[in-house]
């Protein structure tokens, strides 16, 4: 953009909501068909009046509205998205094409089995593939996202424990864990015991030993953890947990670091989930849909959710007859459209490609780590895997915070890293480049970070008042929570006249 002052440019129309556009009686929809009045078919006390204030727009109006909204978004296909823990990698276009095939998109989950054999075969294969990558024995694809995977996994653990006679009471959760881990634990009826990581960024066996007892159903560990550090004690930790008949749950959200490098199933992990919308390249969609398949060791198989996809004589079947199963966690068969994308991704890459994926994810993260180390305080000196965590310690002294740095990055055309997470690192700046970025991009991103470090010294105000070039400036979040306007109402409207 060429430079310009506001008075020269602020002539564009204000941003309107759907409800502030259109005109009474206008419609994008037409389906000529003579119909009996619904009153003849349904008693009128069950019928509604028209939907007050519902949009009345033409087709072009609708498209323009959303097209222009889309331009206000940052996205992976536009730019680099270094969000730690989010694995914002490239979402292959071919996957988008194939899931739109009628035989993928327009199939009914309750159709007779002969009509969904292709879909069931896909799911069956995908279960096997994910099991192979993670070193687990069985996989369920039902959970709709990572958090639902966690809940499912914990339920499996609880079912197993209960079958042993005691569901137990607690889940051990390291302080580096993602918020969903403790939240899922609660939802599964467990108490959470937080376990601190050491100052080198990982969990020590000793620490687990101190809190492990017979009330603990499981340890829920993320590996690599959210510092991007491989939990080097994991095998001995697992032994400690197993010694007391506890189980080890691994949050596999960071599986992008491990494919072909180390299999959770060989680390003593009993249950894990993976996020297909991270490691397996399905698009994030502004917050889903995703999928959070859960893998287990053989001894947990009977507890897996129903239906199970099984190979029978006449083809693939949906097995409901598993009396020990925890039941269903989702309707139908999970987010099939997402599962199909992940399947296409694995097909395309193959075993070797998945391994190269993780290797390059590590290379990119370590490259960033190295380039920024002279300018930002590195939270830990341990080698990093697929992401690295810096802090604002150096910049804090100049009055510049992680938030300021993040917002200033927007002016450089970059989305900020994940910030203030993990919570245990003050002012965390967590960077995950993923393997699909070029070294050139990493160079320009780190150049921007370095420039901001310099600005923090030389012109801190510039950084503290950022962003300066985004569609809106910093937003009043406190005000939003106070006023709590969660929907448009005609009376608040700025609708243009006419």
């Amino acid at each position: 953009m060429s430079g310009h002052s506001p008075e020269k440019t602020n002539h564009r129309a204000p941003r309107l909501l759907l409800f502030e556009r259109g005109s009474p009686g206008r419609t994008a929809f037409s389906w000529p068909e003579e119909l009996p009045s619904p009153q003849e078919l349904i008693p009128s006390h069950l019928l509604r009046q028209e939907i007050t204030d519902f949009p009345e727009l033409g087709e072009l109006e609708v498209l323009r509205h959303f097209t222009n909204l889309s331009h206000l978004n940052y996205s992976i296909e536009g730019q680099f998205y270094p969000l730690g823990s989010c694995t914002m990698k490239y979402n292959p276009k071919v996957n988008e094409a194939v899931v739109r095939l009628p035989g993928m998109a327009h199939i009914h989950p309750l159709a007779p089995l002969p009509l969904i054999q292709g879909a069931l075969e896909l799911l069956y294969n995908l279960e096997r593939m994910l099991a192979e990558v993670c070193g687990m024995d069985h996989v369920t694809l039902q959970p709709a996202a990572g958090a639902q995977g966690e809940l499912t996994g914990l339920m499996l653990i609880r079912a197993h424990m209960s079958a042993q006679g005691n569901p137990r009471k607690k889940i051990l959760v390291p302080d580096t864990a993602h918020g969903t881990n403790p939240a899922s634990s609660t939802l599964c009826g467990y108490e959470v015991t937080q376990v601190p990581s050491n100052n080198r960024g990982f969990l020590e066996t000793e620490k687990v030993k101190q809190v492990m007892d017979e009330d603990v159903a499981a340890l829920m560990i993320t590996n690599p953890n959210t510092f991007g550090i491989f939990e080097q004690d994991i095998q001995s930790i697992a032994e400690v947990v197993h010694a007391q008949d506890g189980l080890v749950y691994m949050d596999g959200a960071n599986m992008n670091a491990l494919m072909g490098i180390a299999k959770p199933g060989q680390m003593g992990v009993d249950v894990l989930h993976v996020n297909l919308h991270k490691t397996f390249s399905t698009p994030h969609g502004g917050g889903g849909p995703g999928a959070g398949p859960v893998g287990v060791k053989g001894f947990l198989r009977d507890y897996l959710p129903v239906p199970r996809i099984q190979k029978g004589d006449g083809g693939f079947e949906l097995g409901e007859d598993h009396p020990l199963s925890i039941g269903r966690v989702r309707s139908f068969l999970g987010n099939f459209g997402i599962l199909a994308r992940a399947y296409a991704y694995i097909l395309a890459l193959g075993g070797d490609g998945l391994e190269e994926t993780s290797r390059m994810a590590l290379l990119n993260a370590n490259y960033i780590r190295k380039r920024l180390e002279p300018y930002y305080h590195l939270a830990f000196s341990a080698p990093c895997m697929h992401e690295c965590v810096f802090t604002d310690r150096l910049q804090q002294k100049l009055g510049v915070t992680t938030m300021d740095i993040a917002k200033r990055l927007l002016d450089y055309g970059f989305h900020p890293p994940t910030i203030y997470f993990p919570l245990v690192v003050s002012g965390a700046i967590m960077i995950e480049p993923t393997e699909t970025e070029t070294p050139e991009i990493l160079d320009s991103f780190t150049d921007a970070m370095i420039a901001i470090a310099r600005e923090a010294k030389e012109s801190p105000e510039l950084v503290k008042t950022a962003p300066h070039s985004t569609p809106v400036s910093r937003l009043d979040e406190a005000g939003a929570a106070r006023r709590l306007v969660l929907r448009w109402l005609a009376e608040d409207s700025v609708k243009t006249q006419g």
Partner: protein
């Protein structure tokens, strides 16, 4: 295929900068015993063309409404989707963006979500709506959990047996580990509606909520007045569950009936059937409950210059802030699907939504009429219905067996979920089932009866 852009010399340059001599060195600290057994036993990668081919082969093994006549509903519906929907949701700016934690560069997703929340409030007649949950089933589970948070000392849940069986299954799974919750099933009466007398008699001060389908799994439109009365009498919450969201364009909305929480599945609103997912769960309730709601919420605010803008709000309910005390564990949900629904509803508009709902009613009623009259099938319920209805068919099973290869699927056999309805078929007719298909459906039965 490979999606990593690194050339050999890229790698060398980067390794040199890092100061190691091989990529392996970057994970040399991982125990050798793990590394040496990490090889992935999958075939090598294939070309994009081969991926397309392979996926095409699988797709061809599935039956679609293009080559089958499907009268299947039961929570997933084959509806018209205007081309605008895919045009918008396939825009990379929406499809490949992250959860809008940085509002300055996420106003697209945020505003669209705010619009979604508004549209769903309008459609359901409720006061607030969250940004979406996984699906209708987990939305019911979340609703019951929320009802529990609101009424901590109560423990009974009245659950209509005519609520979608899979939804009931999910609720059971979610509640199993909550101490002390008791589920009581509400039977149906001969209209197919929940038995009002049973409700009146069973409801008590220990009851935290009653959960009913609206329409229910049999397509029957519940009269919510008796349930609302019973709830009022005992201080319980009324939770409605709509699997066929399009019906709300025509039916008296839950909010008008006085529902406290109204949830459901949104697939009908612009999402392909896709074997049942992804769709989304919608979750609406009274404003007074907003702080106990699960899921994300988008709120309107202003920026430093007073310009309108949108942000995620009330995050203090959520897992990333509250961790084990969060109202739900939900994080990634179904954002792109709620966007699809937003574009769908905007494209259909006020009159279009109603018109399409009316087409469903008309076709379903016509089909049922003909199946009774021309094919002599027996009605099972006499309550009002939207686009699904239950009929009894003599020798249902052998008949369905014969049809398996015919590419006509006349409906859903209810036996698997309701042994008492072993001879019954749930038939769904939408605007996508053309007249000729309905003729074919009728012939399927007349040929036999």
């Amino acid at each position: 295929m490979g999606y990593t852009p690194h050339t050999g010399s890229d790698k060398n340059r980067m390794l040199q900068a890092i100061g190691v001599d091989g990529v392996e060195s970057l994970y040399g600290h991982i125990p050798q015993s793990l590394r040496e057994r990490a090889g992935i036993g999958l075939p090598p990668g294939i070309s994009e063309r081969a991926v397309k081919k392979e996926m095409g082969v699988l797709a061809a093994r599935n039956g679609t409404p293009e080559d089958c006549s499907l009268f299947l509903g039961g929570g997933i519906y084959h509806h018209f989707i205007p081309s605008t929907v895919d045009a918008i949701i396939s825009r990379a700016e929406f499809a490949t963006s992250y959860t809008p934690y940085q509002p300055e560069v996420s106003q697209g997703t945020l505003q669209a979500t705010f619009e979604y929340q508004t549209l769903m409030c309008q459609l359901t007649g409720m006061e607030v709506c969250n940004a979406g949950l996984y699906d209708g089933a987990s939305a019911v589970a979340e609703a019951v959990l929320m009802a529990r948070r609101i009424q901590k000392r109560r423990h009974r849940v009245l659950l209509s047996r005519s609520l979608h069986p899979q939804y009931r299954a999910v609720v059971a799974t979610y509640l199993r580990n909550m101490e002390g919750i008791e589920i009581v099933e509400v039977p149906w009466d001969k209209s197919g509606q929940s038995d009002a007398e049973f409700v009146a008699n069973t409801m008590d001060d220990k009851t935290l909520c009653i959960v009913t389908g609206y329409p229910n799994f049999f397509g029957v439109i519940e009269d919510l007045a008796p349930m609302r009365d019973a709830c009022n009498a005992h201080g319980a919450l009324l939770i409605t569950v709509t699997t066929e969201a399009l019906s709300l364009a025509l039916l008296k909305p839950p909010g008008e009936w006085g529902a406290d929480i109204a949830v459901g599945e949104g697939q009908s609103l612009g999402l392909p059937m896709s074997l049942g997912g992804p769709g989304f769960g919608f979750f609406t309730c009274r404003k007074q409950f907003v702080r106990t709601m699960p899921g994300r919420l988008v709120g309107e605010t202003v920026d430093h210059e007073g310009q309108r803008g949108f942000v995620l709000t009330l995050a203090t309910r959520e897992q990333h802030i509250r961790r084990e005390k969060a109202t739900s564990n939900i994080c990634t949900t179904q954002s792109l699907c709620t966007l699809a629904a937003t574009v769908f509803m905007a494209s259909m508009g006020k009159s279009g939504m109603r018109h399409i709902a009316e087409i469903n009613v008309a076709r379903a009623h016509e089909a049922r009429e003909r199946l009774l009259r021309e094919a002599g099938l027996t009605p099972v319920f006499d309550g009002p219905f939207f686009n699904e209805f239950v009929l009894e068919v003599k020798d249902l099973e052998p008949m369905l067996g014969r049809l398996e290869s015919s590419r006509v699927v006349p409906g859903l056999a209810l036996k698997q979920w309701y042994p008492e309805l072993a001879q019954c078929l749930l038939v769904c007719v939408t605007e996508m089932n053309e007249r000729e298909e309905i003729d074919q459906l009728v012939r399927t039965f007349t040929g036999k009866n």
